[in-house]
Symmetry: C2
Subunit: 340 residues, 2 copies
């Protein structure tokens, strides 16, 4: 059949908006000491969580988070028709070794820190399209595994640059279903890769800002919605600088989101007191803020409709060494308390 | 709505089977000297293709292949609603830097060598579900970028082990559409991660065989089809040993595919004359055989219905160093000349 669910150039509108029937998030110690401390399901006090490597700890983090989300959905794992997930580690081993134990059909994703929105988008599509009743969307990041892969050995006491962000240790998982009473996923705006030439891998907020702005502008253009339709437009991990740049680009394009624009990387830490420079980053940043704080706020009615815009920087250590700039992407998902 | 398109535990049946309206494949010199030499759109005589690194050459390979497929579909790139793609390189830089230039909404995937079937599955779902009219599914691998990432520096003249396979330099891209006269994609069987404990990264065929067999058995169980319904069941890159093991597992489970079982890693090279040990591997192996040879055979009517089963080994150099075994996956897609 022809594409009847399309709305503008990059947005699709769900015909039977799927429900987020459960979510779970497990985070590390630093995240547990931030302002959202009471919104996580579990806070770890040991970065290794009893495992022999940080990579194995990250796998455990994702596996336990998925299992908890499915448990909260009051379903056996065998009822899950698909898991869609990815992480930052090369060849996505955080995810692959997490999912290995779960015996659920699996689509592996790589969207860097946009993965929570990417997995949620595809999970929603599978459910809305009649291909599945229960789908898990998940992602994770771990400060220690990311730091040593992308930057320096953990034991190396390097000075962080002023524009640096802190990779969140955390995982988030969501169970999307055809049966439920909300929150509903109603619209999906899928991003294009945008690269304005930033090459500084310690300034990812600036690199990702144009991609975030592009997807947000496209969403409002495609849907015809205005700032009044949303309680919050929340980006993934732009941090302080990236968010300011995004706001500037949006305003230059006549979209003033006022106090409704915020970023998960700013929400998750008290960046001054915790000395977090520009704020949090990593797949687990937007995932843990969405799966804890944001979905709770929607459920209790403090927010009726949000636009969740996870942002990803798609470079690698190899591409940086080869003097390439940082290609970025942002995917947006509209989450609503009730259907109107 | 509830999941009306499900057929058994892991298979979905398309309601409006999408069409493969175009495909393209570009390969390297060795592949161009194999038995399928006349089925590729272009054969490179330079592994760098004018680029300054093998990784950049791989990006160019994927980008040019996608552009050629879209050109063959007689559509402008701007009509493509999505690109779904991934590759073997850490953080999928082969793909990210390829897609950066194309300005199409993008979902990044990581399925290792299963990516052609994974991207084709999700592209088909997007079209069948009414979310898109034109979707590109693509993947690539490059011998030189893979070899130095996963094994040894290219200049190191190491002896290959007898069970080694050869990473194909090649990319494949398919345009899936709601409008067309076939070949049609009718069924999708999505694999689970299977890991029976193989740790030898030079014996991926043996590692992947149980995953291939699991998905094939599940497909036949879910659909109720028999060997007579298919002209070919073709795995991705099991090679000689992996294919023999898969055949053995299938027979132990009462499925004898006779001479209808084959592997893209055996089809792409003359493995004796070209000294390819167990055969070809890499995302580009199954992609280039499907996008060239197999789709041509279907179009001219030599084959009416095939099951394309791309197989992926989901380890990384880090997981191997940490003494982990190799988690594997296989995704299957039914491609038919005409709807019956």
């Amino acid at each position: 059949m022809s594409a009847t669910k399309r709305l503008g150039a990059q947005t699709i509108k769900m015909q039977y908006p799927p429900t987020i029937i459960a979510s779970a998030t497990i985070v590390g110690e630093k995240e547990g000491k931030g302002p959202l401390e009471n919104t996580f399901d579990k806070v770890l006090d040991d970065a290794l969580w009893g495992e022999s490597s940080f990579e194995k700890a990250e796998s455990k983090l994702m596996r336990e988070t998925i299992m908890l989300a499915v448990e909260k959905a009051e379903q056996p794992m065998s009822n899950m028709h698909y898991i869609l997930a990815g992480d930052l580690l090369s060849q996505c081993i955080g995810t692959n070794f997490a999912v290995r134990e779960l015996e659920v059909p699996f689509f592996g994703l790589y969207g860097a820190c946009s993965t929570m929105a990417e997995s949620l988008s595809l999970a929603t599509i599978l459910v809305d399209g009649g291909f599945a009743d229960y789908v898990v969307a998940a992602t994770s990041s771990h400060f220690c595994s990311a730091e040593r892969q992308f930057r320096f050995p953990l034991a190396y006491g390097g000075q962080r640059t002023p524009t640096a962000q802190w990779t969140v240790t955390g995982a988030g998982a969501i169970v999307v279903s055809s049966n439920g009473n909300g929150p509903f996923i109603t619209h999906i705006t899928t991003g294009k890769i945008i690269d304005l030439g930033i090459k500084d891998a310690n300034n990812m907020g600036a690199a990702m800002a144009p991609a975030a702005a592009d997807t947000i502008l496209q969403h409002f253009s495609d849907t015809g919605k205005t700032v009044n339709d949303y309680d919050l437009v929340v980006t993934g991990d732009l941090g302080k600088l990236g968010l300011a740049l995004t706001d500037q680009i949006l305003k230059e394009n006549n979209l003033d989101l006022q106090d409704k624009l915020n970023d998960c990387g700013l929400l998750i830490y008290d960046i001054e007191a915790q000395d977090m420079h520009m704020g949090g980053s990593g797949c687990g940043c937007s995932a843990s803020v969405l799966c804890g704080h944001l979905l709770k706020e929607i459920k209790i009615g403090n927010m009726k409709r949000i636009l969740f815009v996870a942002t990803g920087a798609l470079m690698s250590p190899t591409s940086t060494q080869q003097n390439e700039s940082i290609p970025c992407i942002a995917h947006a998902v509209t989450i609503e308390k009730e259907l109107r």
